[in-house]
Symmetry: C2
Subunit: 339 residues, 2 copies
DNA sequence: GTCCCAAACTAGAGCGCTCTAGTACCGATC
DNA sequence: GATCGGTACTAGAGCGCTCTAGTTTGGGAC
């Protein structure tokens, strides 16, 4: 910085002004400084600038590495954080690196807010963390308290699945359950609610999970059922699970959607490929990311005077999902409708 | 830090000594300081410590968010960086955030070295970057110069594929090509070499790519071929592409491996699922990560006196892949062997 | 010409650490 | 009792920025 200042014939302070993009430098000087910086291949040291200023203007994010939907969310987060004048600091969660450890490094970086994608930490820990600084849990609802929540209306999503299948004439509609994963309880609830609305519907719960593997296993259970008790349609916890299910069912010689209709959840990229063409409930990664940043930026930039913890707990942001109909669902056949 | 020092009744310098874990503090004091820190919920500010010390001890990593194999690599990188006393700074690449932008933020963080996972930057840029600081390109080979390379022996991998299929009696073995992706050229070369070793083998190249989508498209081309010219086996650029291919071929009523054998590349988690059971060439993410960190740590910690750029360009580290035989390959049938 | 004010610029004290060059103390040595 | 050597600890000057509180400059307005 010293060198750039010297080369441009100005003070260090002026260089700082130019690089922060604030008022207080003439157009001519601004260009002279930038030119000098370019010649010297200088770029401000982010560590030092964050140290010097009272605000770090960074948001920490924990995410599962290699998780496709988290990837979509990160893309959206990068865009909106940038627009709001924040930088993202990523901290990955892997089988050998716990979410708690990931959060620890974010705190040491002095992030101003923390974003947890699909957190698996218990509520008590989250509460404790939220007492220190603004936290938002994305995808996973947290009972109450200071933790911000941005999520899809999971229950509504499963209601969409069930209503779609019901509308196609299906009666035995199974839930391919997600177990203890973020959002699974809500989706289960949505399934139950929708199923109980109509007395003609029969509930069946198949144990599923988050990956294709569990979907495949559920498919074997499904195939083991007698034709009378076998569901004619399946509403899955998520797309990957649905895809695994479809794979195995097809390998067994059944047809999708001819013999069984399947609805996924998420609308991952793969679901849209022509050879998959999975009917699914879409989670809007773009909006989830946008709302997450907005929630945090609102609290941090505190439009009103009352920023800090004394304020009312942030209202959860719940985004409505949308049914995307593709080729994995069809009207119930006579055989199916009969059961 | 001030507060911790006061509470423990020592100087700030002593607190620093304790937290850096260096010699110079008695056991009793050490515990007293740690206790005080715990009570105050203090943790050192990483920005400030990096600023204060001459070394930042950080390695920057660019990766594609949501990319499954990059996830596996990150896991390994986290483990080995930690063991070598380095911290990782992640910078994600998304459709709207270029690799160049990702690198820019890493430079501004003053990382000591940069790790590029599956870089898509041109060689000239990489060279320029490597002139500034140690860089290693993982998965993608770079012609020569200062850029370090850690990769799988892609050519050998495809030779393994072809030899395996040849050994099963296949003659018409197609390459499901990866186009311009990192490593694709090498794999193409390996395929050609292996095919030309035996005059009985017939080369067929199908345009593929990196995702299931391209594999599915290639399958349609494949199905369009007459039975005489249709290959009896396919060596794919990667697992995802292979999986898309298999899906479509099966949906068309053909059997894998009965009618066509398929070999993937990478050995992603999904390939090992029982309902997929893809024969594939395994890339060892664990070792790739380990070697990457080792390469960088060697240069940075400069075992010998001559660290810096004057040194001999780092030799590329090439890791041998391994064939994992599962259920997507089988001996050529009479029909297949005849063609 | 004088006064005033905004715009353009600078000096220098932090930010929370690290790290060098010290001081204080204690037991062992002769 | 003076000297040594080593361990435990401290003072204080940076690290590369930010940011407050200035100082200087260049036009108008009268």
């Amino acid at each position: 910085m010293e060198h750039v200042a010297a080369r441009a014939g100005v003070s260090r302070a002026l260089v700082s002004i130019v690089f922060r993009g604030v008022a207080g430098a003439s157009e001519a000087t601004r260009e002279r400084v930038l030119a000098a910086a370019r010649e010297l291949d200088y770029r401000p040291d982010t560590r030092a600038s964050r140290l010097g200023s009272s605000r770090t203007r960074t948001l920490g994010v924990t995410f599962s590495v290699g998780h496709a939907f988290h990837g979509d969310l990160l893309e959206s987060l990068y865009t909106h954080a940038d627009a709001a004048g924040y930088e993202l600091v990523l901290s990955g969660v892997t089988p050998s690196r716990s979410e708690a450890a990931a959060v620890e490094t974010l705190l040491a970086e002095r992030c101003e807010g923390i974003i947890l994608l699909g957190s698996s930490q218990d509520t008590a820990r989250l509460e404790r963390l939220a007492a220190r600084l603004p936290v938002v849990s994305v995808l996973r609802p947290v009972a109450r308290g200071e933790v911000g929540v941005v999520r899809t209306d999971d229950a509504a999503g499963l209601r969409l699945s069930v209503e779609h299948l019901h509308g196609l004439g299906h009666r035995r509609i199974a839930l391919l359950d997600g177990g203890r994963t973020a959002g699974a309880a809500e989706r289960r609830r949505g399934y139950r609610t929708a199923m109980r609305r109509s007395p003609t519907l029969t509930e069946v719960v198949l144990t599923g999970g988050v990956t294709e593997l569990e979907g495949a296993e559920a498919a074997r259970t499904f195939l083991g059922l007698g034709p009378r008790e076998r569901p004619t349609a399946v509403a899955a916890f998520n797309d990957r699970c649905a895809i695994g299910f479809v794979d195995v069912v097809r390998q067994a010689g059944l047809h999708v959607p001819g013999d069984v209709s399947v609805v996924g959840f998420d609308d991952i990229t793969e679901a849209g490929y022509p050879h998959v063409a999975l009917t699914t409930v879409r989670q809007d990664a773009e909006r989830l990311g946008a709302e997450t940043v907005r929630t945090l930026a609102d609290r941090l930039d505190g439009g009103s005077s009352d920023r800090g913890s004394g304020t009312t707990p942030p209202a959860p942001v719940v985004i409505e999902p949308e049914l995307v109909v593709r080729a994995s669902t069809a009207p119930a056949t006579r055989h199916g409708a009969r059961s």
